[in-house]
Structure formats: structure tokens, C-alpha cells
Symmetry: C3
Subunit: 207 residues, 3 copies
């Protein structure tokens, strides 16, 4: 297995745990709903990326390892979900992990399929935020990518790191880890200090 | 016309009736909204399946019969929708019918395009639940596939019946009807007795 | 640049302004959310069209001018968004402009890629209403295409004008402007007089 595949499956697993725990906490779903939301969260970003790249059928459907990883993640989350009041922190951390890993692997796959520099950064970001956006729409929340403390920006940074490194001739695992680490750090700092990007001049009152 | 096409058009018609009646009942839409929601409900699952199979453009756009069937179903529902309090039962029954037919035809098409056993069962299920999920998102409900009494499970069973039968060498109309019948029976029993899949250990309080 | 490209980029710009201002007004988002919603509104319809045509990757990802136009529109809207109470009118006008331009360019592209008469009209309409539908789902509103005063009908008319003209052998810029003008006129009249398509017989009470 290549480094990219390992990181991709790790991201899939993290998002499956996140989506499934979100289903338990936010919508009190049964086991089918929990595993389904976990799988959609885990596989949605990669499917969006592959549709936009025209790389169909998506890797998640031609490669069984993604489906199994996502399903197992959802089932583990279902089994372990004990007290709802303890779920908030793991949900947020698994989301940040998946975001960081997918930003890097999404951008890497886009480059491998011949996308340009800008498109690769954008597709890495879409891979990272896509699954969580589908998750939020399905449980009727305004998606994190639109509303939350620094969500798309760390993904953009993580994707940009691997794209710039690849342009400079370095496609090793080191820069993938640097990109994912940078994304994770910014995201966790953003959550910890409740940082937000600038708001519009007219938007002074909170909704 | 092949058996698969007949069943597929029947499923399209049932889902168009269901989606259009849902538009009348849940969102009080005008005729354009009613027919639009009927068509999205009827065609959405097959479009999702074809995108995931990379079979583009989707059959619903290269074959006029699907578009016409969906539009006619929506118009009929608009014309017949009399009293709102009588719509709950037909909405549920048409949804169960569409679910059963699409589980079988979706899995059959996936196999015909070379998908593996597991993927075919999954794609049959996605075909069955996809249109209703789009419908629920558009009228702002938590999708049935996440929340409802036994919704994805009967579709999985129906799809699995035809996939297993095909693997054993039998691709006739009989097993398609057995699969659709099994799905329909489980779904109607689930609704009648309000059965649900197991809920997570922490999810003791209802939302 | 061809006429079609100019009209397409104008439509992209109008929808980017509309989506971004909607983000400022309806959901009080930060700059990332504002630009993201602007870009999704501007690019969503064309992406849906290209997926349904099987023309992948979508033009918006292989042609940088769309991405830049959408991003610039979103940033301009962010910078100019002064007082929320003044935004309602420009939001509606930019939406009507994008709707009219995309109905025409979407139908033209569908014909250029070999779609039939009916499919081209439908794909023009989907291009026109697709981005706004994604926008409404993301900020949790019932989509305009389902609920609003004459929204899909003007798009259908605008698309039909260019498709009929092309069938009669005339593919010049004149009929594109006539189609877009007809769509814009009907839409603005519909908004001004709060016209609606007929409602179902049972739907007498408002939600």
C-alpha cells in the first residue's frame, strides 16, 4: 500500500467515526441511520472529487477497502457510543483528522490525474469538506464549511502545501504529513480559540 | 420492452406519484413545484446510480420514456390530490412500491455494467433510497433512510435477492419479482408495526 | 471569446453576487462562507448540467475563467455588503439575471453536445435553477424552484426560445438575447405581481 492510500483510508475511518457519532448525538438515529451517515461522511468528499475529475466510477466504488473501512468505522462508533454528553470532543477531533488527511490525499489524487495547480488545491479542499457538508445537510444543519471557525481555510493550506511541494519536485510522504499537520494545527487552534474569518461589514448582529 | 424496463418505469411512476403528493401535503407547492419534486423523487435514485457507475449521461436523460413517465406521474398526482388528510397512506404505499422496484432494477443494472456482488447490492439500495433522500432534503426533513422504520434494510434485501440469484445463474423475471416482493413485505411490515433497527446504547431519549 | 462564453461568464458573475449576498443576509456567514456560497451558487448549475451530459470534468474546472469570475463576484459582494435591509432587491435582481443567462447558455451547450430538443430545454432549465437550489439547501430554505413565484417557468421559456431558433437554423446571438430577455421579463413580472403557478385543489391552506 502506498502512503497516499494509507492516509486516505485513515481519513475515511476518521470521518466514518465522526459521521456515525454525529448521527447518534444530533439525530438519535438507529443503527442503519448511524452507519449510513458515517459512510456518507466518509465517502462523500472523495465521490465529489472523482465526479469533478471525471474519474468514474469513483475509487470508493471500484476499491472495496474504502467501503469496508467506512462501514467498520460506522459500526465501531455505534458500538462505543456510550454517553451523549461525552461525544462532543471526539466528534470534533475525528472531523479535524479527516479534514486534514483528505485535504492532502485529495490534492495528491487531483495532481496525479492531471489537474492544474489551482484546481488541485481546490479539489483537495472539496475532498476535505465535502463529506461533512453532506452530513450537515442530511441532519439539517448549516454546513461547517459555511459557518464554522476556520474550516475551509486549514484545508486550503494543507492542500496547498502538497501541491507546492509537488511542483518543486518533492512528492514524498514528508510533505503529505507536513500538509496534514498544518491543516490539523490550524483547525484545532481555530476551534480552541473560536477564531473566525472576517465577517462582512453589514453583518454586525448575530442570527 | 424487457422486464427490467417495465419494472423500472413502474418504479419511476410510483416515486413520481409519491414525490408529487409529498409536495402537495408537506410543502403546499404550486404545480411547478409539485411536478418538479415528483420528477426529482422519481429520477434522482437512477441518476445517482449512473453517476456512481460512470454510465453518463444517465439513462433518464438519454431515454425519453423515463422523463415522460415521471412528468405524467407528477401531473396525475397534482390533478388527483383532493383532501390532504387522505394523502398519508397513498404517499407511504407509493414510496414502498418505488423502493422495492428500484432496489431490484438498480442492482440488475449495476450487474449488467460489470459491478461486483457487493457493489451491485449497494447500488441497488442507493437507487432505491436516493430519490426519496433528495425529496426529503428539498422539503427539509431528515431523510427516511436515516430515521425511518426499516427503510434501507428492505432495499438491501431486495437487491441481494436478485444479485444472489444472478450469481447462481438465474436472471429471469421470477427472482426480480421475489426480490421486489420481499422488499415490499418487509417495508410494509416495518411501517405497520413501527419496527426500527436497534438504536445506539447512548440514545435512550427521543429527539 | 464567443457570445455564449460572454453570457455564461456574466451569468456566473450575477449568481456569485446573488449567492454571496444571500450568505451575508440569510446566514450571517464569515468571508469564507460568503465566497463559498457565492461560488456554489454560480458554478452549481453548470456542474449539474455537465454531470447529466457526461461532459466531465465540468467546464468550470477545466476553464479557469469560471472559477475566477465566481470568486471575484463573491469577494466584491462581501466588500460591498453594507446594510442588510438594502440587500433584498439586488439579491432578487442578480438571481433573475443569472437565471436568464444560464437558461440560454445551458440549453445552447446541451445542443452543442448532441442532446435532443426536449433534453436541451430541460438541461437549460436545470443549469438555470441548479445553483440557486444548492444555495437554498445549504442555508436551509425550501428551494425557490419548488416554492417561488414563477421561477422554473421563465427558465423553461428562455431555454425553449434558443432551442427552437436553433432547430429552425438560427444560432446567432440575437435569439440568445431574446430568450434571456423573455426569461428575465417573466421572472421580474412574476416577482413584481407575486404571480404563482396554479396550486393543487387540496392545498387551500397556507403552510
Amino acid at each position: 500500500m502506498t502512503t497516499a492510500l494509507v492516509l486516505d483510508l485513515l481519513g475515511t475511518f476518521a470521518f466514518a467515526l465522526n459521521g456515525a457519532l454525529t448521527a447518534v448525538r444530533a439525530a438519535q438515529l438507529d443503527i442503519v441511520g448511524v452507519v449510513t451517515l458515517g459512510m456518507i461522511t466518509a465517502l462523500g468528499g472523495g465521490i465529489l472529487r472523482d465526479v469533478l475529475l471525471g474519474a468514474l466510477p469513483p475509487a470508493t466504488f471500484s476499491d472495496w477497502r474504502y467501503l469496508v473501512t467506512a462501514a467498520v468505522g460506522g459500526l465501531i462508533a455505534f458500538a462505543l457510543s456510550g454517553r451523549l454528553d461525552r461525544l462532543a470532543r471526539p466528534i470534533a477531533v475525528f472531523d479535524a483528522l479527516g479534514l486534514s488527511l483528505f485535504a492532502v490525499t485529495g490534492a495528491t489524487k487531483a495532481m496525479a490525474l492531471g489537474a492544474g495547480v489551482g484546481q488541485s488545491v481546490l479539489l483537495g479542499t472539496i475532498t476535505a469538506v465535502g463529506g461533512g457538508t453532506l452530513r450537515d445537510v442530511l441532519v439539517r444543519r448549516v454546513p461547517s464549511v459555511l459557518s464554522s471557525e476556520l474550516y475551509a481555510i486549514p484545508a486550503l493550506v494543507g492542500a496547498a502545501v502538497v501541491v507546492v511541494a509537488a511542483r518543486l519536485g518533492d512528492v514524498g510522504a514528508l510533505w503529505a504529513l507536513v500538509g496534514a499537520g498544518a491543516c490539523l494545527t490550524i483547525r484545532l487552534l481555530g476551534m480552541g480559540f473560536r477564531l473566525n474569518a472576517p465577517r462582512p461589514p453589514g453583518g454586525t448582529t448575530e442570527p
